[in-house]
């Protein structure tokens, strides 16, 4: 038994993509290495850090715990796909204004995860933000400014 390549087609950041992938390719690897969308980060080996968060068919997921093959037919948004040309997404803008990052490594995952937290709960409380971000690990900030950023973005996004 080998790992013969298989064809997948999906929509990523609004663009149709067709590609041949080995069945053991992780979605995160496919996004970074085949599509060169390197904003999606890999921060751990154990699927615990959340740096690789993307949106898959409307849900925030960890792209390092999914095979590219599983995403056949899916609609995906990565951190590169949320701004409107030069206009940052309200979540990105809020992280910028509140200094919601230091080294920036976890930030794409934080932003993608937080967007879904807010979309699913527009009036999200500080406590719910802290609990909601339990799957995204940041080693620099102590989370305080991240939580502030999400809170601000929630008001802009229509909370």
């Amino acid at each position: 038994m080998g790992g013969q390549e298989m064809e997948i087609s999906l929509k990523i950041n609004g663009k149709d993509v067709k590609a041949d992938v080995k069945p053991n390719t992780l979605l995160s690897t496919f996004i970074r290495e085949d599509l060169n969308l390197t904003g999606t980060h890999i921060g751990c080996d154990t699927s615990q850090c959340g740096a690789c968060a993307i949106h898959l068919n409307g849900d925030a997921v960890k792209s390092c715990a999914i095979l590219a093959a599983q995403a056949d037919g899916a609609e995906i948004t990565t951190i590169e796909g949320i701004a409107n040309d030069d206009e940052l997404h309200p979540m990105q803008q809020a992280f910028h204004e509140n200094h919601g990052l230091q080294c920036g490594y976890c930030t794409p995952g934080m932003v993608m995860s937080s967007i879904k937290l807010v979309e699913n709960n527009p009036n999200i409380s500080e406590e719910e933000i802290r609990k909601g971000l339990e799957g995204n690990i940041c080693r620099c900030t102590g989370y305080h400014n991240i939580v502030k950023s999400v809170k601000q973005a929630a008001t802009v996004m229509g909370g």
């Binding site: 080998g2 053991n24 960890k62």
Partner: protein, 264 residues
Amino acid sequence: MYELQYSKPSSVNDAVAEIKKSSDSKFLAGGMTLIPTLKARLSSADTLVDLKGANLSKISVSSSEITIGSMTRHCDVASSNDVKGSLPALAKLAGGIGDHMVRSCGTIGGSLANNDPAACYPSAALALDTTIVTNERSISAEDFFVGMFETALNENEIITEVKFQIPEKASYIKFPNPASRYAMVGVFVAKKASGVTVAVTGAGENGVFRCSEIEIALNSNFSTESLENIDISPDSLNSDIHASAAYRANLIKEMAKRALQEMI
């Protein structure tokens, strides 16, 4: 990850036919345990047979039971108005598994079939007289959980749905490991016409178990006071870097008390 093949059949029958083609193939449910395990090369497979296309995701409720399709995701159970209305403890349990990104992928069937000793769902299944329905038969939860990561499932057997009996009242409280969110100890208390059932996850050497000491106490007096003088033996409990057996024994009592406080 070692090399493998991937297939996504569109029915349970096709999935069984597919998996029989090789002796080292595995079913793939939500993948939240299996993919990281494969990634770490702790596991391997000739072929992953993805059950996502097999039409196994659904929730339905009658007056006495909730039926949940095996590929129903944790987020769908947590947000289901049917589940929240008739068995809120189960919705809360599902909404506390992992984090919101894990809940967007992980499934009830995957959780039960994996039978991780620290998983949340096995406690609800054992406390609620649950029937696990497969493509071959129906298995009571009591017979289903055999030991750590072991179930009564045969090779090539697929869980299709899970039927929970709706109790008068229920509550699930867990003490999560702060890093993984798995239960260091989780206690599911169900009060039914036939009596009180208490199932404990995260603590037992052989996985989920019913705690007869607490059940006896609560069947004679359904109050937190009746738990005060109970001693839970640490003898068959887990000891690891996160907690000693004695600590877990104490957590069982404490989580049971908190569950009771929610119910009274």
